[in-house]
Amino acid sequence: MKLRSHLLVLSIATAAPIVALATVIAVVVVKQERDSVRDAAGERVVAVMSAIDAELRGSIATLRAMAASAHLESGNLKGFHSDAMRIFATHPDWLDFTLARGDGIRLLNSANPPGKDLGPVSDRESFDLAMQRGEPVIGRVAPGPEGRSLGIPLRMPVANPDGTLKYMVTVVLKPDAFSDVLRAQKLPEGWVVNLIDSNHKVIARLPPMPAGRPASDSFRAQLAKAPHGWFRGKTLEGREVYTPYLTSALSGWTLGIGMPTGTLDAAAWRGLWLLVVLIGVASAVAVGFALLLSWRIAKPIAALAAASEAVGRGERAEFPARTPIAEIDSLAATLKQAAEAMREKHELAEREKTALQAADRAKDEFLAMLSHELRNPLAALTAAAHVLKLATPNESAAIKARGVVERQTKHMARLVADLLDISRVAMGKVALERERFNLYEAVGNLLNVWRASGRLERHRLMVDARPVWVDADRARLDQILSNLLDNAVKFTPAGKRITVTVGPQGEMALLRVSDEGEGLPPDSAERMFDLFVQGERGLDRAAGGLGVGLALVKRLTEMHGGTVSAMSAGPGRGATFTVLLPAVLPPSTRATKPEEPTRVAPRRVLIVEDNDDTRQMLFEALAFSGHDVREARDGATGIALAAESRPDVALIDIGLPDVDGYEVARRLRAAPGGRNIGLIAITGYGQPEDQKRAYEAGFDAHLTKPVAAERLKQVMAGLQ
């Protein structure tokens, strides 16, 4: 079931009892309304009946007075008639009066004085009843003995002393008199009021109906059940009415007031109809709110569901940012986090997979390369063996073949050594033999070895070196730098520059080799240190190798607690490999004091060098050896200082900020006494070409940076 339906049910469930209660209340109210109208009508009936009873009581009182007339006791009928005629004149509501004998024969009435028999009374039943009771009796509506208009007899017996009936005095009332009473009630239009006698004949009625006519069937049937109450029935005209009615104890007459059912029911129906409309409106409002609410709730939930599905399909999901519902907001936030975590996990897995694939590929390539690298020399060796087997030893072919054997075995030996080395390092079988030494000097020494071997002769080597001390394994640091240089030489075209930088960098010792070679493919910098990864020219023998050099650099550096990184501006734009090792403080000078004393005689020495560290290092080394040392930061100052202090020896940096070192040398040489001054060039350029240029400028010696203290001593000694 949809949320919308749930909310609909909820709102209906909430509204239903209220609607039910409202209905009950409405029905009760309608019923009370009807009851109160009916009760009012009932009171009206009592009041009208009282008025009618009062009317009757008045006539009965008069009747009693007439019956008690002295004329009757004395038998003076004339006197009685005349008295009665006077009373009759004051009672317009009377139709007639009569006096009858005990046997029911009338002796006189309003039209006839006594004197002749007027015949029997008409309503014998009331006559007998009155005679029996000895009390006044109200008769029925009946026509008179002469068939005249209808009247209602009130009879009062007059008894003889022996108790027998002497006379019966009767007053006949006009039914019209009661019509006046009814009319005086001023009942609402459409209402029916009906007064009937004990014989259920109409006495008076509104709207008018001839007296003596029987009451309606429904009225008569109701009267047979109860003397008073109310009922719903049809009037003589056939209209539907509610009728409260009452039967008088005095007269036995019944009064009913009929209210048209329409009047009462219309009010009830109007109330009910209003109720229905109100319930309808309330229900519509409730349903409307439910729908609005469900839309507001369901919409963000649907959006959330869609987003979750998208996450499930692995697509990028749009989560609803803000909804009107706090719980949905927090759910969305949670789902979003979960989705992000999932995506990160997925991406991580993808990266790991890619890395694994790359490692697998690198391994395959390594095996292929290994195969190639080992099979090629083997093939050459096999063929050489074949030649040696056939050729006589002194034959040129044999001599050449021996050369091949020598070269190829050396080559293979190096390959095998590399392989063993990397596997030993990888397995953690290499122990570092740490000692504290100046990296600056170690680098200088190694560069001298490389220069001597001629392996750097095809490139321009630049050195930027400053002293920095490390606690490390000398041999392994040599290996690190050698591998980096190897790499640079391999991938840098002849004539391009290779720069070696060594010195402090913050807390670390920096060793950097930059080249102007092929550079690295984009995004491959990190991979360069993985085992077996080759440069792009993996198939080229010139760049051949097993791809273990940089991996070795990384492992060895990390064993020293350092880091290594590669950087390139892109293919063809050179590469820079940077090794950072933890630097240590230099051993205190006191500890190094008991060195062998210098064999150099103290001299005045001038240093012209713009690099503060190098100048400082040179200054300390020379001053320690007992020389009198002056320093200058640039060429002009150096020349001025030389003129003033007349040094025996001048150490001059070639790359000065103002004039170059060659120019400084030429000027010093040309100055007075300059012929005897010892001039030493200090430079990062170590090519034979550079040396030649230095000698041409008048230098006596040429020192390549970094300058080892021992080498400086030798050169100083050589100038003596």
């Binding site: 095996l367 292929a368 083997l378 050459a380 063929a383 050489a384 074949h386 030649v387 023998r541």
Partner: protein, 123 residues
């Protein structure tokens, strides 16, 4: 008349030892370090047999093979390679597929090569 053989390999020592071995066996031998040189040599002095390595700089060994097969259909072709059978870099089966006359895996016995050559170009 002696048969002429062109050896193409980027490794100088490999070229040298093969040249010496084949000369000892009585062949006339030219050498080249890459496919371009080999084609130049062939134009000057057409060889009866081409012995070529597949790994070479400048041009893939296949390129040389393809050029020879088109331009010198009578020249026999022997391919040697250092690639191993357990890696993706084993090109010898590929070479066989494109229809070279023989393949050899490095290192190989020179007598095997000589026997092969004898079958191809009987003197």
């Amino acid at each position: 008349m002696s048969k002429r053989i062109l050896v193409v390999d980027d490794d100088a020592d490999m070229r040298l030892t093969l040249k010496l071995s084949l000369e000892l066996a009585g062949y006339v031998v030219d050498v080249a370090g890459n496919a371009r040189e080999a084609l130049a040599q062939q134009r000057e002095r057409p060889a009866d047999v081409l012995i070529t390595d597949i790994f070479m700089p400048d041009a893939d060994g296949f390129e040389a093979i393809d050029a020879f097969r088109r331009e010198y259909p009578d020249t026999k072709i022997v391919v040697v390679s250092g690639g191993a059978q357990f890696t993706k870099r084993d090109y010898l089966p590929d070479a066989e597929l494109i229809g070279v006359d023989a393949t050899l895996q490095k290192p190989f016995d020179v007598d095997t090569l000589l026997a092969l050559l004898k079958g191809m170009v009987p003197s």
